[in-house]
């Protein structure tokens, strides 16, 4: 129905439906308020035009009116706030068991890596009807991952991960834009999100014979020597990483945090930042020695350790679980 309104952008995700409903509410209320003010000003301007013999009537004010037209707008604003907050909270909370795609943004392209190992540049293939979480970092400056048809946007920062998620509802090809000014070819840092029927997606996935991301990570884990300290038998100089993802970690300084992607990533590039209780700060940093893609592989591998379905793909693949 909304598609019939000229200029209305394509809607291809669950979020898009929610955001559009709220947007329409805002448009209607704002439209009414605008018409109210425009009508009153125009009416007064005409009705109270200067007329001989009718001077202006001096009116100091009215407490009752001031209070009324403070409280009513305030209540309306709180409705806007509340509805917007609910949608935002949902947008910032990826569903459990979302399929995952790692994104590395750089001037001026988008690099995607699926858990099964497929790599794409500037084009992201996803199946319709599935929760997809993107785990993103930048190699250089701040970029922003923006898919208008999904109504989602998330800045992509160097040195850490930011996360977004979507649930595509309509097959099609949709614009992907970089939305944070990033230099010369900011307007060229664009591409497409291709939403496919599940069976078409299987076909697309099948071709390639790629190495799953977590397996790449496992190989790196050995090559870089991580395995010498982080042994699964907890006898190593570093904490065992089996099952660490998503669990609370107690630090030397007394803080407890949940091990998320950013924690794992930070532990590799800046191990001195947070020391696990009972361990010494002896881990060397890998900052500058591994690429963002290799970091992603390591993070994917660590996440897969100790997970119930430790399949080849390390879980979280789009083809693995059917919703």
């Amino acid at each position: 129905m909304l598609e019939n309104i000229p200029f209305w952008p394509a809607r291809a995700s669950t979020t898009a439906n929610n955001v559009d409903a709220l947007f329409i509410f805002l448009v209607v209320v704002s439209g009414l308020m605008t018409m109210l003010i425009f009508t009153m000003v125009t009416y007064f301007a005409v009705r109270y035009r200067r007329r001989a013999g009718r001077p202006a009537e001096q009116i100091a004010g009215s407490h009752a009116l001031e209070i009324t037209w403070s409280i009513i707008p305030f209540c309306v604003f709180m409705a806007f706030f509340g509805w917007g907050a609910i949608i935002y909270f949902q947008e910032r909370t990826p569903p459990k068991n979302s399929a995952e795609v790692y994104i590395v943004a750089k001037q001026w392209m988008w690099k995607f890596e699926h858990m099964e190992g497929q790599r794409e540049i500037n084009e992201l293939h996803v199946p319709v009807g599935r929760d997809v979480k993107v785990i993103m970092t930048s190699q250089d400056v701040i970029h922003s991952f923006f898919v208008p048809a999904f109504r989602i946007k998330q800045d992509v920062l160097p040195g850490r991960y930011t996360v977004a998620w979507f649930h595509a509802t309509k097959p099609g090809t949709y614009h992907l834009f970089c939305a944070e000014y990033c230099g010369t070819l900011h307007s060229g840092m664009i591409g497409w999100v291709v939403v496919m029927e599940p069976k078409d997606y299987e076909v697309w996935m099948g071709g390639g014979g790629n190495q799953p991301l977590a397996v790449t990570g496992e190989k790196l884990f050995t090559e870089l020597g991580c395995v010498t300290c982080h042994r699964s038998d907890t006898q190593g100089r570093g904490p065992s990483l089996v099952g660490v993802y998503g669990k609370p970690v107690m630090l030397e300084d007394g803080r407890t945090l949940t091990a998320d992607e950013n924690y794992i990533r930070e532990s590799i590039v800046d191990p001195g930042a947070k020391i696990v209780k009972g361990f010494k700060p002896v881990m060397p940093t890998f900052q500058g020695q591994i690429s963002d893609e290799q970091l992603n592989a390591l993070v994917a591998y660590v996440k897969s350790l100790g997970q119930p379905q430790s399949s080849q793909t390390g879980g979280k693949s789009m083809a693995a679980a059917t919703p």
Binding site: F7, P9, V19, L22, F23, L26, S30, T34, I37, V41, F44, A45, Y48, R50, R51, R54, P55, A56, E57, Q58, I59, A60, G61, S62, L65, S70, P73, F74, F77, F80, F81, G84, A85, I87, Y88, D140, V141, I142, S144, F146, P148, R151, I152, K153, Q154, D155, L157, G159, R160, F177, A179, Y181, G183, T184, L185, H186, S187, D270, Q287, G288
Partner: protein
């Protein structure tokens, strides 16, 4: 009242008291300094406007075919920097505020006349640094200077641009300081706080923001320069820094800065609406408190520019809530201006046309701010043309309309001449039409998903039609702004001489001659009446003015 004469036998005014370039460049007369600022900001307005026209021309077609990508990035950057720091922020305070505040409170000058002149010199030095930046090849950081792009990746004149903003910031701080002290300490006998024109209250609130906020952006800019020169690792994650720290420091000022840009305009509109409705303002206390409320709460909302930047969900929730709080006093003001017109005796001279335009366009701009404060919608529209449209509605549809209205309202007082009323009304209407045609399509473009700062949109040709409309509007708007340039200059030579009070308006500035003599008042006035005493004034606005 004023009977002093100069050699030619005519009445001594602040304009003819002394001639020669030295008498202008070394003046401490607030009225002359206001004119010095007028020249500066008008020059920068046309520079910034020229950059905008080039941007709009490029966007006529989807392909980037007018200028190169780097050039385009410089054009929108410098359009923003010039317009914000060298036009909008000084505009009303430095021209109308400087000229009128001492007179409106019954004083001979500001509290610190020499600091006032220093403010102007700092503005000019900053302006020269900006001009140097432009001539040396420009800068392409975006007016927001985000790191690490600005600190690690760009090879353009980032430091000179930063320096230009840094220096001109002190102009802003000193002007704010001057106004605060003046308003506290130099009011004439009987001019109590509750009798002050809202124009004065508005500048008081603005000055608080200028004094408290500007130092923060100064520091932020210094840190960018230091990072760029010495790679200290403040904002660079590879060295342990945090790029988001810059955004917090920058927006902590730059959000209140938008209130620096709008509050003076609100003050101007209150003066105009009261005069041309022949009524005291509806709800004087509420209007004054709303100005202060906006200034204070305006310091608490900065991270609504960062909802998708990577801040925590809880921070985002708090800043969204606070952003709705700051919207309430603005809404109150719109209702009060409307109520002031109720049962007034309204005429439609040029200043009032601009005031009508302000009320309408500020309403739309403010309402679209509510869209942006709304987290769920903001995620979609932030960093798109929706934001561009929103802030232009407030800054151009709001501030510039108010500035033009104020310039027309007080032109007779400042210059001693009347501008041609027909051309004034015509320009106001051309501006209104051109403005809406330029910026309304941008709301739609934003919701469609067109990002900001895009040189080329050839992969999204569906954006073209609205861009063409927008560019057409910009050309109309340009005509609307050129016309006053021409007829104001014309009026200085050929305009009808202005009486003391061409509008029969309330306010101390209308009790002295047009133009005023150097020390404003022959004798210090003693005020025994309330602000907007139109019940006592009784006469209407003269017809045919």
């Amino acid at each position: 009242m004023a009977t002093a004469v100069v050699e030619t036998g005519e009445r001594e005014t602040y304009l003819n008291r002394e001639y020669g370039i030295k008498s202008w460049l070394l003046t401490v007369d607030h009225k002359r300094i206001a004119l010095l600022y007028l020249i500066g900001i008008t020059f920068f307005f046309f520079v910034g406007g020229f950059f905008a026209l080039l941007v709009r021309l490029e966007l006529l077609t989807p392909a980037g075919d007018l200028v190169q990508a780097d050039t385009y990035n410089k054009l929108f950057t410098m359009h923003g920097q010039v317009m914000v720091f060298f036009f909008l922020i000084p505009s009303i305070p430095a021209v109308l505020g400087n000229f009128l505040i001492p007179i409106m409170i019954g004083a001979k000058d500001l509290a610190f006349p020499r600091i006032n002149l220093l403010s102007w010199y700092l503005y000019i030095i900053g302006g020269c640094l900006m001009a140097y930046t432009i001539l040396a090849g420009g800068v392409d950081t975006g007016w927001t200077f985000y790191t690490p792009l600005s600190t690690e990746f760009l090879k353009t004149n980032v430091i000179t641009a930063a320096l230009a903003v840094f220096v001109s910031g002190f102009s802003s701080i000193f002007t704010g300081l001057n106004f605060i002290v003046t308003i506290h300490r130099m009011r004439a006998p009987g001019m109590t706080w509750n009798r002050l024109p809202l124009f004065v209250w508005a500048h008081y609130a603005t000055s608080i923001i200028q004094v408290l906020g500007t130092p923060v952006v100064a520091i932020a800019i210094v840190l960018v320069a230091l990072e760029r020169l010495f790679h200290l690792g403040i904002f660079n994650p590879a060295l342990g820094g945090d790029p988001l720290l810059f955004q917090h420091l920058f927006w902590f000022y730059s959000h209140p800065a938008v209130y620096i840009m709008i509050l003076p305009g609100m003050g101007v509109v209150s003066e105009i609406v009261c005069c041309f409705s022949r009524k005291r303002v509806f709800g004087y206390q509420a209007m004054a408190m709303a100005l202060l409320g906006i200034a204070v709460v305006g310091f608490l909302v900065w991270a609504h520019h960062m909802f998708v930047a990577g801040i925590s969900v809880y921070a985002a929730l708090i800043f969204s809530l606070l952003s709705y709080f700051v919207a309430v006093p603005s809404a109150i003001k719109v209702f009060n201006w409307t109520a002031t017109m109720y049962k007034g005796s309204i005429t439609y001279q040029t200043p009032m046309i601009y005031a009508f335009g302000f009320v309408g366009l500020f309403t739309i701009g403010g309402l679209t701010g509510l869209f942006l404060a709304c987290l769920g919608v903001d995620v979609h529209v932030t960093d798109t043309y929706f934001v561009v449209a929103h802030f232009h509605y407030i800054m151009v549809g709001g501030t510039i309309m108010a500035y033009m209205g104020g310039m027309h309202f007080w032109w007779p007082k400042i210059s001693g001449k009347l501008y041609p009323e027909f051309w004034g009304k015509l320009s106001a209407m051309i501006v209104f039409i051109g403005f809406n045609l330029t910026f309304f399509p941008q709301f739609i473009l934003g919701y469609m998903g067109m990002p900001r700062r895009y040189w080329d949109y050839s992969k999204a040709p569906e954006f073209q039609i609205l861009n063409v409309l927008s560019t057409a509007g910009a050309s109309v708007l340009a005509v609307g702004y050129l016309m006053p340039m021409i007829y104001f200059l014309w009026s200085m030579r050929y305009g009808k001489p202005a009486p003391d009070n061409p509008w029969n308006a309330a306010g101390l500035e209308w009790l002295i001659p047009s133009p005023p003599s150097t020390f404003n008042f022959d004798e210090q006035p003693v005020v025994t009446w309330e602000a907007y005493n139109y019940d006592e004034i009784r006469e209407e606005v003269p017809v045919g003015q």
